[in-house]
Structure formats: C-alpha cells, structure tokens
C-alpha cells in the first residue's frame, strides 16, 4: 500500500480508499471489518485501514482528516459515534472526496455531507427483541436488560428500539451494563438472578451476543435453563450454536456482511453513477430452527 496515496496519476492506477474503522474487537466488528477489507481488495481498490482504540472518536477524526489530506479517492467511515462529524465531512466535501458511511449514520443527518450510508439498523434490532418478548409473554413477564457501556450510540439505539416496542405489561426489573463482555455478563446476571430470585425472571435481553452467552451460562448455573428466554443481537456463530443448543432463545442478526455492497457503491460513485443515499442491509431474526439451517455456512 506504500506510496499509493496520491490520486493525480492516471485513471488506470489503483484507486485508493481510506477506511476509518473501529478496530478488531471480536464478534460483529471483526467479521464486518474483515469483510469490508476483503471486498474492497477483491474489487481492486487499494484500501488503507485505520482503526481506533477504545472506540475513541477523536482518533477516528484524526484518521479521517489525514485521508482528506492524503487526497484518497474515497473514504469509508465506520463511525463509533454518530455526532461530531460535520467539520470533517465538510473538509472532505471541499476536497471532493466522496464519503460512504458504514453501519452508523451521522447526526444530524445532513445528507449533503456524504455520498451514501450502508448498514443494518440498530433500532430495528432492538425492536425485534421487544416484539419477541411481547409475543412470548402476552400476559407480561419480568426480566433484565444487559447493556453495553453507558453512552455509546449503539447502546442508545438498541435501547430506544427496545423501549419503543416493549409492551407496558412487560417489566424490566433492572438494566445493568456488562460492558459488552461475556465474562462480566455472567457475573452481572448471576448477581441479578440471586437478587430477584423471588420475581420469576423470564427474559433477558442482552444487547450483544457476547453478553448473551455470558448470561446463558449464569442462567444455566442457576438451574434456570429454558425457563429464562435470552434474546441477543448480532448473530455470530457461537451465538447461533447456543441458540441451537437451547441456551439462547432468539438471536437477531446485525448483519456485518456488506463489504461487497460497499465496494460496489464506492466504485459506482467513482464512476459517476448515482447511488441510493441509504442502503439498508437486510438482517434476519434467527430462531433455533433457522439457525440450524445456516450454522454450517456461517463464516464468522
């Protein structure tokens, strides 16, 4: 990838794309970013990958601005945060570098500032979880929510989707952060189960697979396997496996595989074609039966 960043050379030269990424953090994120990287490489782009640490938005902004200065041909941005991108996007616009947003959109959603947005919807995923609970417990039930670190956009989006659809009959006894971590989720769930022993806990909504898997282990240890429905979002292979094994009850996919679409979109934009501003990536909702069908072909 060396020495490739100036775009002024001939048209037949490889196009350079800067990828402002989150970084390999396991599960969804790794699958997604690997897919994006592979797809762009297959499509003949020269992709410069720039991950952040600790989901630090500042590092992403720095990387973004650097890509603008490097005069790359296009930037794909997988933002950790929806807000705070205006200045940078304006710079890119001034430099006439098209920006494609992956996964997270921007707020306020000024469609002038980017070329396209591709990604699944977090709010949708949260809604699916709530609808499943409503359906399972028409008379209402008690449960917990395991959240990611307080304040991240994903956490807020998935929560707002969940809350918007959840029946008032359902009672969320407590929402606790388990920091996206399997191991913390296990501890937290064990504690919550102990504490609310008398409340007949019937559902746990874990905002990602990792936490759901931890919760499942705590539920199992407490001898409540099957009695507590666990719903998770993401759809990684271990979660689907757990779904088949009956440890989880529902896995809502947050489809990470849209690298090809992204690469195609970027190349269309560079070729001057018009593209859809908002491309929603289809995600599925898995029950045990459906999971069994796809588990073997699941790449991540």
């Amino acid at each position: 990838a060396c020495g490739s960043s100036s775009s002024s050379d001939g048209d037949d030269a490889k196009k350079t794309v800067g990828f402002v990424a989150v970084g390999p953090e396991g599960g969804f994120r790794t699958a997604n970013e690997n897919d994006v990287q592979d797809a762009f490489k297959t499509a003949g782009f020269d992709l410069i990958y720039s991950p952040t640490q600790n989901s630090d938005q500042q590092k992403q902004i720095q990387a973004f601005n650097k890509f603008v200065n490097d005069e790359v041909d296009a930037i794909v941005l997988s933002a950790t945060e929806a807000t705070g991108w205006e200045d940078s996007l304006k710079k890119a616009k001034e430099a006439e570098i098209p920006v494609v947003l992956l996964d997270r959109g921007i707020e306020p959603n000024d469609t002038d500032l980017y070329a396209a947005h591709i990604g699944p919807s977090n709010t949708w995923a949260g809604e699916q979880a709530a609808e499943f609970v409503n359906e399972q417990f028409p008379d209402g039930a008690n449960g917990f929510v395991l959240e990611g670190p307080a304040g991240l956009s994903v956490v807020n989006d998935r929560r707002s989707g969940w809350e918007s659809k959840l029946d008032s009959k359902q009672k969320v006894l407590e929402s606790q952060s388990a920091n996206w971590s399997t191991d913390e989720a296990k501890t937290v769930t064990a504690g919550l189960l102990d504490k609310h022993k008398s409340q007949n806990v019937q559902f746990i909504f874990a905002q990602n697979d990792e936490m759901g898997l931890g919760a499942a282990q705590a539920v199992d240890a407490a001898g409540l396997k099957g009695k507590v429905k666990i719903i998770t979002i993401d759809g990684t292979k271990p979660a689907l496996q757990a779904l088949i094994d009956g440890d989880l009850s529902l896995v809502i996919e947050y489809n990470p595989i849209f690298g090809e679409v992204a690469a195609q979109t970027v190349s269309d934009i560079l070729d001057g074609k018009t593209v859809d501003k908002d491309i929603v990536v289809e995600s599925k909702v898995f029950t045990a039966e459906e999971a069994a069908k796809v588990i073997d072909s699941r790449p991540y």
Binding site: T187, G191, D194, K195
Partner: protein
C-alpha cells in the same frame, strides 16, 4: 551509657493498648470496609448472606459465593502487583497479560490441543511477557510505568493476533472440562478458583516471607542504591517480580476466560490493572515502594470484588457505577488516612499543649 536512651511511654492498660493497636492497623479498616459493604448489601437484599447447596454445580450457591468466584482473579493480579509495587514499580500490563493468556488457551483448545498443554502454554506466555517487562525495567533501566504501559498496548494487540481478532469460543470444545472446572468447579462446597487463588497467595506469601525474597524486594523498593551496596542484585529482584506478576496475571486470565470458556479480545482483563492497584493500596502497600502486605492486598482484592457485587445488588444504574465505585474507594482510603487514624491521639496532644501553655503563663 548502658541505660536506654529513650524511655518507654508508660504502658497504658492492656485493653487500651490492644484497641489502639487495632485502630492503628490499616488492615482493620479494610476489614471494617468489607463488613460495611456486606451489611449494606444485606440490608438491601435480605437473601444476601443466604447460602444454598446447588446440586447442579456440586457447590454452595448464593451471592457471596459468586463474589468469591469473581475475587479469584483479583487475588491473582493483586498479589503480583503487590510485589511489583513494593519495588516502587507498577505493572499496568496485567489486564493485557490476562487477555493474552486467555486468548492462547482458548485458541489452542479450540484447535484441538490438549487442555493441560493449553494451560501450560498460557502460563508460559504470561511468564514470558512478564520476563520482557522485567528485562526492560531491570536490564535497560526503563521506567516501569512506561514499560508496562507499552506492554499493555502490545499485549492486547497480541491477543488479537492470536485469535485473528475473533472472540474465540471454546465452550463447546470437548476436553476443556478441566479448565472449565478450574473457574466454575467447587471444592468442599467452595469455588475451586477461589481455593486455588488462596493457595497461590499463600504460597507466594510463604516464598516471600520464609525466604529472604520479601526482605530483598522491600529493600530494593526502599533504597535501590543502598541495596546494591549491601550486595543485593537489584536487577535480579526487579526481573523476578515482573515475572511473577506476569505469571499470576496469566492465571487470572485463565480464571476469567475459563469462567465462560470464551475470550473477549477487547474486554477480558480491561481496566483490571487499575483494580489491582487499588487492591494493593487498600491493602496498605505504598505505591512509593517498600513494605508490602500480601494479606492486605488479598483483602483489598476481595473488597474490590465486593464493591462490584454491591453495585449489582444495590442495582446502581449502570451510568452511575463509576461514581459509586469512586465514592466507596475514596471513603475507604480516607478512613485509612493517618490523619483519621490518629484523630484521638491528635486530640490528646492538642489538649496537652493547651495545658502546658496555660502552665507556662501561670
């Protein structure tokens, strides 16, 4: 010239001196803090202290048991950290060493390696990372803070390289049971990992106090140059403590990952270096180095686990947990401050001075 130069202060009554000794002892306040947290939890949740036999796991179950289970990893890293801190160093890399050990063990296990070999390799890797820290600090003379900060960055990267960025899951791999048992099993009704941790802490304690290791570590921490002049090889000591810390962090990493048989490359061990340092300080070992107390650190480790348990039990809103944590830590540290501990003595002193000033005027 034979009569003693200083007179003993007139012995107060035995009971009073006992109470005074207890009041002055830093451990006392740690115990008080622990009890206070347990009481708080019990008020909130009457079932908090209840224990029941769980036939599924073959051990006791109840809030206190899960607390002890979680404390095992803190016990490990706090023990290693104590030795490092005693040499006036610091090991910020324990969390990262944990994830590396967890990652390699899960990765090996899921690719069919024998479970014992996986454990051994994980421990060995922890040892090697500790040795790298040790070599950089002792041989190159780099500052511990920055050296282990670098290892903290690099270690997490290494874990990601090991699993290619995945959260490797070995929960369904056959043959992983021994590892699973280590973190989830029970011995005599008590959590196995807690028992193992206590045994390891005891072993390190024996090693430190029954050999001259403890004294030499403290000596190097207090005055490196004087120790060198007394024939101690400070480099060897420094190297040793980082190796021990790395090894114990690897054990902690195994506890943390084996508990769910899955490594979270970006989350396992995150921020745990801070908890370990807090445990050490709550336990009465100064970050400036010198005298250390493994028992104190162990208590500190349990307090940390207890604070986290309290957060869950009280149902503190996830947004408010850091603040709650901070408040508890501040209260514990303030209670331990000499100023508070010597409050009564200071009061007496002030009175005495007033009296003698009056006498001087009269």
């Amino acid at each position: 010239m034979t009569n003693p130069t200083v007179k003993r202060v007139a012995e107060p009554s035995a009971v009073r001196s006992f109470i005074q000794r207890i009041m002055r002892n830093q451990l006392t306040w740690s115990v008080v803090a622990l009890i206070a947290l347990i009481v708080l939890c019990t008020i909130f949740d009457r079932q908090f202290l209840s224990l029941s036999y769980n036939p599924r796991t073959g051990g006791l179950s109840g809030p206190m048991i899960t607390m002890l289970q979680e404390s095992a990893r803190y016990l490990m890293i706090a023990t290693g950290m104590t030795l490092v801190v005693s040499t006036s160093g610091i090991d910020l890399s324990v969390g990262s060493v944990m994830v590396v050990a967890g990652a390699i063990s899960m990765q090996l296990l899921s690719t069919g390696t024998n479970v014992w070999l996986s454990i051994l390799v994980a421990l060995g890797l922890g040892l090697v990372l500790g040795a790298i820290n040790g070599a950089l600090v002792s041989l190159l003379g780099l500052q511990p803070f920055i050296t282990t900060l670098i290892m903290m960055l690099a270690g997490r990267g290494l874990a990601k390289v090991i699993t290619s960025g995945q959260n490797t899951d070995a929960s369904t791999v056959a043959g992983g049971e021994p590892l699973k048992w280590i973190a989830n099993g029970f011995v005599l009704g008590l959590p196995a990992n807690f028992i193992i941790a206590v045994i390891i802490v005891a072993l390190v304690g024996l090693l430190a106090r029954k050999t001259a290791m403890g004294m030499m570590i403290e000596s190097v921490g207090i005055n490196k140059e004087a120790s060198r002049m007394a024939g101690i090889n400070p480099k060897k000591i420094l190297f040793l403590v980082y190796v021990v810390s790395g090894l114990l962090a690897a054990v902690a990493g195994l506890f943390a990952t084996a508990s769910v048989m899955r490594v979270d490359v970006s989350k396992t061990g995150q921020d745990l270096e801070m908890y370990a340092i807090l445990a050490v300080v709550i336990g009465g070992t100064s970050l400036l180095g010198g005298k250390f107390s493994l028992l104190g650190s162990a208590l500190g480790a349990i307090i940390i686990a207890m604070i986290r348990k309290t957060i869950i039990t009280l149902g503190i809103d996830s947004a408010a947990t850091p603040a709650f944590f901070a408040v508890v830590v501040i209260i514990i540290c303030v209670m331990q401050a000499p100023k508070i501990r010597n409050l009564s003595a200071e009061f007496k002193r002030k009175n005495a001075i007033k009296a003698s000033q009056k006498a001087a005027i009269a």
